[in-house]
Symmetry: D3
């Protein structure tokens, strides 16, 4: 099955052997957004300014989520993560919250799944915190925007 390393020659899923790959410094950045009504977003903005910090809770959930990636994604390798940062900003034009997660490691395989897991966990936490006010929120734009440090070279997503 050309291109899909997570299957062996017989099409059986396995965790791919990375033992022959070099230990290098790797970085990945993922992003996502949570779209909501303007009046829901107002609750976020008020909270950040004063109290009831939606973004602070989601940031922490995202950081912790990165550490659970190998528990959640069946064929992911457990990796010694060396950095996680999750930024959340209010975007009145969306309207909603934009999330960017950065993960680093010194390891034998990339950390884009960790970055995606951090971003999606932060996004779901934003949903959880606000769902009493609005049920029609939607998470989207969850993708890798940067990946670097491995054999396959640097990947940068196009700006959208």
């Amino acid at each position: 099955m050309a291109g899909l390393t997570h299957f062996d020659g017989e099409g059986r899923a396995h965790m791919v052997d990375v033992s022959g790959k070099a230990v290098t410094d790797r970085i990945a950045v993922a992003e996502a957004f949570v779209r909501m009504r303007p009046e829901t977003l107002d609750l976020v903005a008020q909270g950040t300014a004063k109290k009831g910090d939606v973004l602070g809770v989601a940031r922490l959930a995202g950081i912790m989520g990165a550490k659970r990636c190998a528990d959640l994604i069946p064929l992911c390798h457990p990796l010694p993560i060396t950095k996680v940062a999750v930024d959340l900003v209010v975007d009145a034009n969306l309207p909603g919250v934009r999330i960017e997660a950065t993960v680093k490691t010194s390891g034998q395989t990339g950390v884009e799944m960790e970055a995606l897991t951090a971003a999606s966990t932060a996004a779901l936490t934003v949903y959880d915190m606000l769902k009493a006010a609005e049920k029609t929120m939607e998470v989207g734009g969850l993708r890798v925007v940067l990946k670097d440090g491995g054999k396959s070279g640097r990947f940068e997503a196009e700006v959208t």
Copy 2:
């Protein structure tokens, strides 16, 4: 902070007290999609027909992800889940994979976060299985489409 039950009167995060709520049968359905290039989707379709079952792996990851919801989302209550089903279908028009996750419980609070976690974990697993072939895939449309069984009544999302 009107509408946000996850904060107390002082704006401090807490896991809201549901001990006074009735134990009722509850259901939630969430959906998401993974958009990809047609040639990447061809790999999925081939795998399902023959071998290298991307959708089967993602389905299982989604089911297991539902059980990890309370570990990931800080203020979620642990719940005795009574059913999880995750459906994944190939959509050539997207092009990509559409995911629908259904979760049931008999409990004191809803399971929409479990359904969202199942859908997003399945979506991330699709990404993981295919990322060797394409890095520009994007997860979107992650939202609740049905929630029923609690005091707040039935919620159904509009068809988009």
Copy 3:
């Protein structure tokens, strides 16, 4: 697929819906053994009598293992376990260690997987504690010997 409730009509894996089942008191007992050389078993017997308590460590690992069952077995329901006991005895005739795990719950589905997980985790821990002395140990006879409390009635394994 007649008889296999873990698949739906299309053969897709799902966590079966138990929301319509009654909450009843349920019990399951599983057993296993670890076969080893007589001189390895002597180390266990010495440890139990004096110090270096192999069986005590394995007992605790088995009890904790029962609580991780739903994390490990993809389609198992999380259950509020109400009792776990793991007994380990030295059997010079085997020669080796015999393990019996008992689990109870008040729930909507049985606990035989929890009992099996407790027994196998205890067995693997026995292996881990003794592997510096012998690598040829073997775990066997892992099976359910009693299951009661559900709609399908009482099951007792034949004595072997």
Copy 4:
């Protein structure tokens, strides 16, 4: 307590100090079987050929189980696993399913416990998927068949 490195000089359990050991490439292979009635095995064979993929679900559970080893076995070191493969084949002569799990790491201690945990988790998952059809299945033959890469040299089990 001669030979049992998991206890200190006073017989107290501890996680043994491996900080002075070299980081080397290590591999371990474990095997197990699930014995069942021929008619139960027929359900597996049908499923693999058409739908209701028992072996595919068990394979994934085994791979994920390897990553939970240090959570389950009290004195195991957490290790950066670099490969996991779990093979399951139908054996009509058993009759039942034979399982072989291979785990690799670059670390300071061996991965035989990870391989055993992968094999036993896969075996229990086979049991779980088929238990509606037969309760008298039995897991056996769970043992290490190969271990290599550490200071104690290569170990190969005798063929049985």
Copy 5:
């Protein structure tokens, strides 16, 4: 062994059988403190007022810690927690941070271990956030101050 329910008649550890106990509403409150130098406490106070919210991070860690109790304490029953609140206040007289954790459930056994785990996890997180500034902080006064709702009646600790 009179009084120690976590051991059977032979002195072997087990998870005690609570299946015969009534499901009742239960509550427990635990407290702890982290003592530190006045200048370290100033960093906390500044952070709460402006940014770098040590107490907010520790509050969330405590809430999530309550949900991990049964994973950490070997003989604890998994319980469907219905509420967790963790309060942290600056006490200039200590000097340090005072922590109070409240946990509720509707279950067959008490939640004092969940409350203690919440308080200790919050305390360790305070330590972690501030350890770059001071290594001599000390956690103390970790105890149960209220427990109610079970057969053994109401317990209230004396004010100290």
Copy 6:
């Protein structure tokens, strides 16, 4: 925010970047005590001498707790622990149990949080095992007594 590396320049929590730090051998030792009535302590002493081994169970819980540190403490890095030892001794003068936990790693950041988590988990387990006999026990003196191997040099707490 001077001195608090767990916050970035804007005061937002993050997991600090250690990718530029050297991999060195690191050690940390933490201690704690559980104070109890003399008659409660008698139960511990009897158990250790004969059966019902409170200290043995708590020792194992502490060792396993060290491995869960990065799951519990939000901004802790996951680390490949190379050694854990937890000593518990009866102190009639306290009266109570004194706990000392030692953790080692070869990594890019220190293990004092792992040592503190081991000590506190062991302490809470002592509480859990004895709470049927006494509810007024108190955990205190939880602190780091030794930390060595990193760039910031050796730290030894003063004897108290």
